[in-house]
Amino acid sequence: MTSLWTIFASFLKIGAFTFGGGYAMIPLIEAEMIQKRGWLTREEFINQLTIAQSIPGPIALNTAVFVGYKTRGVKGALSALVGVVIPSFFIILLIATCFTEFKDNAVVAAAFKGMRPAVVALIAAPLIGMAKGMSWWKIALALAVSVVIWLLGVSPIWFIFVGALVGIGWSFRPEGGSEVRKEEKEL
């Protein structure tokens, strides 16, 4: 059985290096959880991301809870959550108490000028892997959704909701079962 300590330590590492929001942790999760430890399959990970988006709360927390809960139940979920939160908690506490001028520091500012484009790359790169094997119209739909959210600022939850409804509706047609299962395999 996976020890709670291993779960905690893995998410501590992920929490310490996730800059620029939850999606930047996708490559970290892939390397640590899927390839190195085998805690998740790729299909579970893709489904997990979808679930994390449809549940309130930061993506990073939701992902930690999913993986922790899957491996060791409630205790696992708590270990993962505490692990992913601790780095930001202590760093912010340190800044709030001692280094209020942190953000005006020239070296810190320069480091972040270098890291910002890297974070965009870390968010965008896994999409290549996810789009592989998807039908062209799904990729076109994903592109359209991203542009509408980006330019019009529509709340993402509506797209998730409509996607779920359409998917459920589609699964009710007579030969629906086999078709959906085939698509699931493609993921």
Partner: protein, 174 residues
């Protein structure tokens, strides 16, 4: 009763904050600046800036920071941070349980398949939003982006990429 107010405000932020990060800012603004006046708008902008420079979700960073500034001690931080995590913890455990029970069901699989292109679109939109900000300041930023993109597709360790890009930033921009 400042502790109770803090707890309830961050519970609310955790509970209604869909879509993570930047979608949460307006919610945080409403609670922290408009409703309770714990921070001024300028202070919240500072917290958001610090948040982008430190690891972790912005909701957590903000909870830790505001919890400390409002109460003047670590317990305030801990309380606010715990409150913002609570909805995630409980709802996500329920959803995970639900997922593993239902995943063989054809209609549930249909819903997941229908949400999948949306999920990818959402991630792409968050990358696009970062394009709009002050991320790409010169050709060196584009070079860092291109290098990290190719390296990440080729599965180079992401922690290494973060550290290297910070180093390149210090060398290029100090």
């Amino acid at each position: 009763m400042i502790y109770l107010q803090l707890f309830l405000a961050y519970l609310k932020i955790g509970f209604f904050g869909f879509g993570g990060g930047y979608a949460m800012i307006s919610l945080i603004y409403n609670e922290v600046v408009v409703q309770h006046g714990w921070l001024t708008a300028a202070q919240l902008a500072d917290v958001a800036a610090i948040s982008q420079m430190t690891p972790g979700p912005i909701a957590i960073n903000c909870a830790t920071y505001v919890g400390y500034t409002v109460t003047g001690n670590v317990w305030g931080s801990l309380l606010a941070t715990g409150a913002v995590c609570l909805p995630s913890l409980t709802l996500m455990m329920l959803a995970t349980r639900f997922y593993f029970k239902l995943r063989g069901n054809r209609h549930f699989a249909g819903a997941m398949a229908g949400m999948q292109p949306m999920m990818i679109g959402l991630i792409l939109s968050s990358a696009l939003m970062l394009f709009g900000e002050s991320t790409f300041i010169d050709w060196k930023s584009w070079l860092i982006f291109a290098g990290c993109f190719v390296a990440s597709v080729r599965r180079v360790n992401p922690i290494l990429l973060i550290l290297l890009s910070a180093l390149v930033g210090i060398v290029c921009y100090v």
